[in-house]
């Protein structure tokens, strides 16, 4: 199959899922006729009509709340929240219900639903359009939180999310939507949720990242390679439940670790990575683990966004400090 970008890959997965399973419905603000503000739902409305591709009124709580109801009654809703900056409106439905139905009904009711959201900065967007809030969801028991990093894993993980019997928060790094293309196979494929991938092998230092920030880690690794420093990169892909075994295995090999993410540092995903490494590989560490993350401030409006977002330069400096410890 031809090389496609991430926006197209997610769109492809939605087409494939709606095609093979009548229970799949897509809902959200502007997902129908407008085909989504990022055109992720392109072609769906024309193909499947407004019963399965639902332009909803402007109400995030009702979008997620009714998706819960639909999944209780046998459908597989994929709801889109237009930007993560607006997902808070729906948070009581997510935390109070989506995450709890299986537990409180002791397995009698479970919710095969997906909540899709573009997240993160780097596209010069408006205020409230650049947030990276995966930690809130990761902190909520009963949720799976998936963040793809490229076209191929985006498509495969979305299929896994749709097939999952429980709610999956699927965060799309919007800075990567059209950043690069990748070959995807003709056949539909899935990727196990909860499994990290080593995308680059090296023995000197482990870089742990995910989503859009992974680009900074890769760029840093390539530059460090020229200085004969060999980085191993772990792409988490699922931030919760986190695959710490893959991280720990890598850190046992390298003895050093730098975590890179654009979400805020305080109680961020990186904090959990550090804790798991401490619990499982403390005696293998040659240096303290470093975090290259967004600062603990609201993501700045775009004139100063670059001071906030991790870049390769910051990752390189952190790696060198770790290596020279």
């Amino acid at each position: 199959m031809a090389e496609i970008n991430m926006a197209k890959a997610i769109n492809l997965a939605l087409h494939e899922a709606m095609d093979r399973d009548q229970r799949v419905v897509v809902m959200g603000e502007d997902v129908g006729q407008d085909e989504g503000v990022f055109r992720i739902t392109e072609g769906l409305f024309a193909k499947y009509g407004d019963e399965r591709v639902i332009d909803t009124p402007l109400a995030e709580a009702a979008i997620v709340g009714t998706a819960i109801g639909m999944s209780i009654n046998g459908l597989k809703p994929i709801c889109e929240i237009q930007f993560t900056g607006f997902d808070y409106y729906a948070f009581h439905q997510v935390e109070g219900h989506a995450s709890r139905f299986r537990n409180r009904t002791r397995g009698r009711i479970h919710l095969p639903m997906v909540m899709r959201m573009p997240y993160g900065g780097g596209i010069r967007a408006l205020e409230h359009h650049s947030e990276s809030r995966e930690a809130y969801y990761a902190h909520t028991p009963g949720l799976k939180v998936v963040i793809p990093s490229g076209p191929r894993n985006a498509r495969a993980l979305l299929h896994s999310a749709i097939q999952d019997p429980d709610p999956v928060i699927y965060l799309e790094p919007k800075a990567c939507y059209r950043l690069f293309r990748e070959e995807v196979p003709d056949q539909m494929e899935t990727l196990p949720i909860g499994q990290a991938h080593v995308i680059r092998e090296g023995e000197d230092i482990t870089l742990v990242s995910y989503g859009a920030s992974l680009r900074a880690a890769i760029e840093a690794a390539e530059e460090l390679e020229e200085e004969n420093i060999h980085c191993e990169i772990v792409d988490l892909l699922t931030v919760s439940p986190m695959d710490h075994l893959t991280v720990v295995k890598s850190v046992k090999k390298t003895g050093r670790c730098v975590i890179v993410h654009e979400g805020q540092r305080n109680c961020g995903i990186g904090s959990e990575v550090v804790a798991r490494i401490n619990e499982h590989a403390f005696l293998y560490l040659e240096a303290p683990i470093k975090r290259v993350t967004g600062f603990d401030i609201p993501i700045p409006y775009f004139s100063k966004e670059r001071y906030y977002l991790p870049d390769a330069e910051r990752v390189i400096v952190a790696c060198k400090e770790t290596l020279n410890f």
Partner: protein, 381 residues
């Protein structure tokens, strides 16, 4: 135990005073002093021209994505003119004309849409909140301000704004209910422009008007022609007077049409026809108001032209000022992103501030090296 009817006495009115052809219903015409009429027109025009200039700047890459306000000037100005400086103005994001009237410098508006938080700092002399992006979330704030007025025995009012899409959000209904229960002196002004990005009004709600939602909250509700500044004036003046006298909140729906895309990133051709937009363009608020002012002898054709020139000068000067400010040391200071999060920077954040300092130092070193190299090669060639 019969099945009976509960009489809800309330009726929903519709008000139009100055129609699209500038025909005036004299019996309904408000008595507005000439100077005030001129002021209203001036800020409607200033809003429109600023909006147009910002669109050009956005197309030239000199401004970020922004939501246009064109077409909403009558609702904004017809209402805001009825409140005083120490009353509160709580906007959504298409009340540009009203914000400028309240004293927001044009350059602040430009700076905001150009990615500077400095643009959101309200002017000192008025009680204004900045624009609010998350839909309907400003409405409970407006009500809280009003509730505080009741507790503090202040004789002020709050004028707040939202769109038709906002009426679907829980925050909107929760705010209306609180205002009603606590008799908060709040005037809710809905800019019903019939579109929430691509979603048309009939998909947003299955009832005929936004105004009728007032019935459920036991407050007066009225729909007015949102392109008729006189109708907006009359309806909001009644609401302000009522609120100030202790009569509680009101809901005013201004029916208009979003003449522009939702934001500069939107393409309305995907979901609506240009023909309808063209039809509504004929009903836009400025032309009929200018005719009214002329017919009434408040402004001559020459006066209107002069005002165009005056407004154009103001906008041009503001663009220059905004672009200068954007290059100023004060606004470029990277520590601005950290220093306003708390009143005092806590220790953990101070450490991150130091990290940013190191980052800046490395960046400056690299720049200096690069420049040195450049001048070296320059000297050689």
């Amino acid at each position: 135990m019969p099945r009976t009817v509960i009489e809800i006495a309330q009726k929903i009115e519709y008000l139009s005073i100055l129609d699209e052809n500038a025909n005036l219903d004299k019996s309904l015409e408000p008595d507005i002093p000439a100077e005030q009429l001129k002021t209203m027109y001036k800020y409607m025009l200033l809003g429109r021209r600023t909006d147009e200039r910002m669109l050009k700047m956005q197309r030239q890459g000199r401004l970020g994505t922004f939501p246009q306000s064109a077409g909403h000037e009558a609702i904004s100005m017809g209402s805001v003119i009825n409140i005083k400086k120490d009353d509160w103005h709580v906007p959504a994001y298409r009340e540009l004309a009203g914000m400028l009237y309240r004293g927001w410098p044009i350059e602040n508006i430009i700076l905001f849409w150009n990615g500077f938080e400095e643009g959101t700092r309200p002017p000192e002399e008025v009680n204004d909140l900045p624009i609010c992006v998350p839909i309907a979330s400003q409405l409970p704030h407006a009500v809280g301000i009003g509730m505080a007025m009741n507790i503090k025995k202040e004789k002020n009012v709050v004028m707040t704004y939202f769109g038709d899409g906002a009426t679907s959000e829980g925050d909107c209904h929760e705010a209306l209910n609180f205002a009603s229960v606590f008799k908060a002196p709040v005037v809710f002004v809905c800019l019903n422009n019939q579109y929430a990005i691509s979603v048309p009004l009939e998909r947003q709600m299955a009832c005929e008007t936004v105004a009728q939602k007032a019935i459920a909250y036991n407050m007066p509700g009225i729909r007015v022609d949102g392109n008729d500044v006189l109708a907006v004036y009359v309806a909001t003046k009644e609401a302000v007077d009522r609120a100030r006298a202790g009569g509680g909140p009101s809901l005013i729906e201004g029916l208009t049409y979003r003449l522009t895309p939702h934001t500069t990133a939107d393409d309305p051709k995907r979901y609506r026809s240009d023909a309808t937009t063209d039809e509504w363009m004929k009903k836009e608020p400025l032309i009929r108001f200018a005719k009214y002012l002329q017919n009434k002898g408040v402004m001559s054709a020459k006066d209107l032209e002069d005002m165009e020139v005056e407004v154009d000068t103001l906008v041009k000067a503001a663009v220059t000022k905004a672009e200068e400010m954007a290059k100023s040391e004060e606004l470029l200071n990277p520590y601005n992103i950290i220093d306003h999060v708390f009143a005092d920077v806590p220790q953990f954040l101070q450490e991150q501030r130091d990290e940013l300092g190191e980052y800046m130092k490395r960046e400056n070193d690299r720049k200096a090296k690069k420049n040195a190299k450049k001048s070296e090669t320059g000297a050689l060639s």
